[in-house]
């Protein structure tokens, strides 16, 4: 289910002041929608919606996004092209467009998208974007056949847009772009236009149930959101056709880790201002051991992710991490529920020569969670000296520093890459290049690599699990051995107890029919402050014949 909210409460709590500069320019008392000057302002109604057609099965973008608006914002001088939230979340960086801003004015006007006066317009917005009229216009512009567009294989990703003047420049941003631009400016956008850029624009649309890989928003709907929350949860709506929303991921734990694994656990800290003179300390109590985390800083009104790196125990269990925050900050999450699992309990059984599986049919390779990029930011304080002269006499006095802490928002990222290869086992007498006979063994080599500009905030890839077609990529699997450690580890099968030579091999079943034999390996446990990096890998060999063909019965020579 999709849900749109336009917020009211804030405007009721704080008296609304209207400055006379700029049409409809609103300031709720703190430089919110714009500081009431011509440099920073937003006029009500200057909004729009970016529409992207997305394939439901793999979340691929299948159309160039289009911007609908009722206005004519031809004076936009800074925009970031037609880039969707999905593309940004996949690692696209924010970059000014070098072409003029283009937009679409629908004949039937859109309802108000971004709130100013708190009026709730949800039903009108839903009705508009689900209507035959609007879907047909999207079909016309994108060139997608209307019947194909609504056959259930595609969904529409909607993102609210605002057109506003910032620092004297007219700009157009979605909520995601506003958050990324604010990070670029180290909080400069938020400090001038918080109610628009970090409240009414991102909260104009969000999901009530998870879909397209995005989770539902369960946070505050009455206070400005953090850049991280905006990028991950806010400023999006989804129109679907026929099919129900993807089943939401409901879990009773916050993190799932593997045993004996170095991991990272994070929480968001906010409230007041945390700086070196008044620092916030975060303590994580994990299994009776307390980890203190320091140098957690942020400016007033903002927040900062704090994390701890630790190693999970060697046995499966559920754990609770208790979080304590000292100093000016606080956290909304004082307990973190952890599930620790041991995947190395389900290797394939011993294959035998008379195995049969007459009812076997191939299964498609499942889409396991994959995330190859992570981006996080750290508020880095620095002292701004403000020297003032205090006289102590006619020709005497001294300089006194009345400075303060300024903050830069430093950007960090991590990227995971990997490839895998399966090949004939060297004890296979008839294996030939990329083909082999069923019943023989194969070897595997996974090469992984992780890079980051803050190595202390990541862990290297530590686990890889291989799934096989004969088990429909479930039922049984193999946890691979990490052959080399470091930032570029290699993985291979563990030594097979059923192998005569104890080779690192997996035996294909003898009943496997001719054709592609594809192994799926899930590379996991490269942790960052914003979650785990993982990759789905596949490689194939071709089965031609079976092991029985290498044997024949003949009379003994006399």
């Amino acid at each position: 289910m999709f849900f749109m909210v336009v917020l009211v409460i804030f405007n009721f709590i704080i008296p609304l002041s209207v400055f006379a500069i700029g049409d409809g320019n609103i300031d709720s008392g703190g430089g919110d929608m714009g500081s009431g000057t011509s440099e920073n302002k937003w006029s009500s109604g200057y909004d729009g919606v970016r529409i992207t057609v997305v394939r439901a099965s793999d979340h691929a973008i299948v159309s160039t996004p289009i911007d609908f608006t009722n206005k004519s914002p031809t004076n936009v001088r800074l925009h970031f092209g037609k880039t969707s939230k999905i593309s940004y979340n996949n690692g696209i960086t924010l970059s000014p467009s070098t072409t003029s801003y283009s937009f679409v004015n629908p004949g039937q006007e859109m309802p108000r998208i971004v709130s100013t006066n708190g009026s709730n317009n949800i039903e009108a917005i839903k009705k508009y974007f689900c209507s035959e009229y609007t879907i047909k216009r999207i079909s016309d512009i994108t060139g997608m056949n209307y019947d194909i567009l609504i056959n259930g294989e595609y969904k529409l990703l909607l993102e609210p847009i605002a057109y506003y003047t910032f620092q004297g420049v007219m700009i157009a941003t979605t909520a995601t772009e506003a958050a990324m631009y604010d990070e670029k400016l180290s909080g400069g956008l938020r400090s001038k236009m918080v109610s628009l850029s970090h409240k009414n624009l991102p909260l104009a649309m969000f999901l009530e149930l998870g879909d397209l890989g995005y989770h539902a928003w369960s946070g505050s709907t009455s206070t400005p959101a953090s850049n991280s929350d905006i990028k991950n949860y806010l400023g999006l709506g989804i129109v679907r056709f026929k099919e129900k929303a993807e089943e939401p991921i409901v879990s009773t734990y916050d993190y799932e880790y593997r045993v004996n694994t170095e991991v990272i656990t994070s929480i968001m800290v906010g409230g007041g201002q945390s700086d070196p003179d008044n620092p916030t300390y975060v303590s994580f109590n994990i299994g009776g051991r307390t980890y203190d985390v320091g140098n957690v800083y942020y400016p007033r009104g903002d927040s900062q992710l704090a994390w701890v790196k630790w190693t999970t125990p060697s046995t499966e269990q559920n754990m609770t991490i208790y979080v304590n925050v000292d100093g000016p900050g606080g956290t909304a999450k004082s307990t973190i529920n952890i599930k620790i699992i041991d995947l190395d309990k389900n290797p394939p059984p011993n294959p035998v020569a008379n195995d049969r599986n007459d009812s076997f049919s191939y299964a498609s390779i499942p889409r396991r969670e994959e995330n190859t990029n992570a981006n996080w930011s750290i508020w880095s304080p620095w002292w701004y000296s403000y020297w003032v002269w205090h006289s102590t006499g006619e020709d005497s006095g001294y300089w006194c520093d009345h400075g303060w802490w300024e903050f830069d928002l430093e950007q960090y990222s991590a990227r995971l890459s990997a490839d895998m290869r399966i090949m004939n086992d060297n004890k296979n007498p008839t294996g030939n290049g990329s083909s082999f006979k069923s019943g023989y063994g194969i070897n595997q080599l996974v090469n992984a690599s992780i890079s980051s500009n803050q190595s202390s905030a990541i862990t290297y890839p530590q686990n890889a699990i291989s799934y096989f077609p004969e088990f429909c990529y479930e039922t049984y699997w193999r946890v691979l051995d990490r052959m080399t450690s470091g930032s570029s580890p290699k993985f291979e099968f563990k030594k097979n107890n059923y192998s005569t030579y104890k080779n690192r091999t997996h035996f294909s079943p003898i009943w496997m029919s001719d054709g592609a034999y594809t192994v799926n390996t899930w590379l996991i446990d490269a942790w960052t402050p914003v979650g785990m990096l993982s990759m789905n890998l596949t490689d194939s060999l071709t089965i031609r014949g079976n092991l029985w063909q290498d044997w024949h019965i003949a009379p003994l020579k006399p």
């Binding site: 999709f2 031809t74 001088r77 800074l78 925009h79 000014p96 070098t98 003029s100 801003y101 283009s102 937009f103 679409v104 004015n105 629908p106 004949g107 039937q108 009705k127 508009y128 974007f129 689900c130 209507s131 035959e132 009229y133 879907i135 216009r137 016309d140 512009i141 609504i150 529409l156 910032f166 620092q167 420049v169 700009i171 631009y181 129109v239 056709f241 070196p276 980890y291 203190d292 985390v293 320091g294 140098n295 957690v296 800083y297 790196k309 750290i378 304080p381 002292w383 403000y386 003032v388 002269w389 205090h390 005497s396 006095g397 300089w399 009345h402 303060w404 500009n453 803050q454 202390s456």
Partner: protein, 213 residues
């Protein structure tokens, strides 16, 4: 009585010479003799590796100034046998903390042990000297003061709303040579006037095709 005849004397001298030579040969050769070698068991590869890991842990613990018990799980079974030796050697080691030179680009926090940080330590600038603090011709940060500084009472200092902008600093929206100045990105190409397209056509605005619930 003639005890030694010439012949006997001759043999006595030769024999003495041979004896001295023999003693010298023995003494010289003993200098080059090798010490007896006792057979010792060479450590296998696994032990060697585990020792390296243990040393690494020692380093970390020492660096943090907090000797911690080494976690069995991270060391491996083979190392458990050596645990007693390792812990004993920990207590004897007295190595000063290893200081990594600050290159100015280090963005890493501390990610080991129970005292971690998410970024490098931040410190205020060094305190100026007394001479710098009392020099009315320039501020302690080196900025020259052209006129005698104006006195402001300590409790009447107000923080300026915006740090004063430097002269000639471009403002957002400034245009020059086909470019426009925007905050955060500096001078970018002026993209010029935008363009809208009006679209309309058939389709019932009241007929619901999609679902947003």
């Amino acid at each position: 009585m003639k005890v030694f005849n010439d012949r006997s004397k001759k043999w006595l001298v030769v024999a003495s010479g041979l004896l001295i030579c023999a003693v010298l040969v023995f003494m010289i050769s003993s200098k080059f003799q090798k010490e007896p070698v006792e057979e010792v068991a060479l450590p296998n590869g696994e032990n060697t590796i585990n020792d390296v890991i243990a040393e690494k842990n020692n380093e970390i613990n020492i660096d943090n100034g907090n000797l911690e018990k080494i976690d069995d799980d991270t060391i491996g079974n083979a190392e458990k046998e050596n645990e007693g030796k390792v812990e004993a050697s920990e207590k004897e080691i007295n190595v000063p903390p290893i200081k990594v030179p600050d290159t100015g680009n280090n963005k890493n926090g501390v990610d080991k042990g129970t005292n971690q940080t998410i970024q490098v330590d931040v410190k205020k600038p060094k305190e100026p000297t007394k001479e710098e603090l009392t020099d009315p011709t320039k501020k302690p940060d080196g900025e020259k003061v052209e006129e005698p500084p104006k006195n402001i009472d300590h409790d009447k200092v107000e923080k300026p709303e915006e740090p004063p902008k430097k002269k000639d600093e471009p403002q957002g929206g400034d245009k020059k040579d086909g470019k426009i100045f925007v905050p955060g990105f500096g001078w970018i190409d002026d993209v010029g006037e935008g363009e809208g397209t009006k679209v309309d056509g058939d389709g019932d605005i009241n007929k619901q095709i999609g679902d947003m619930n």
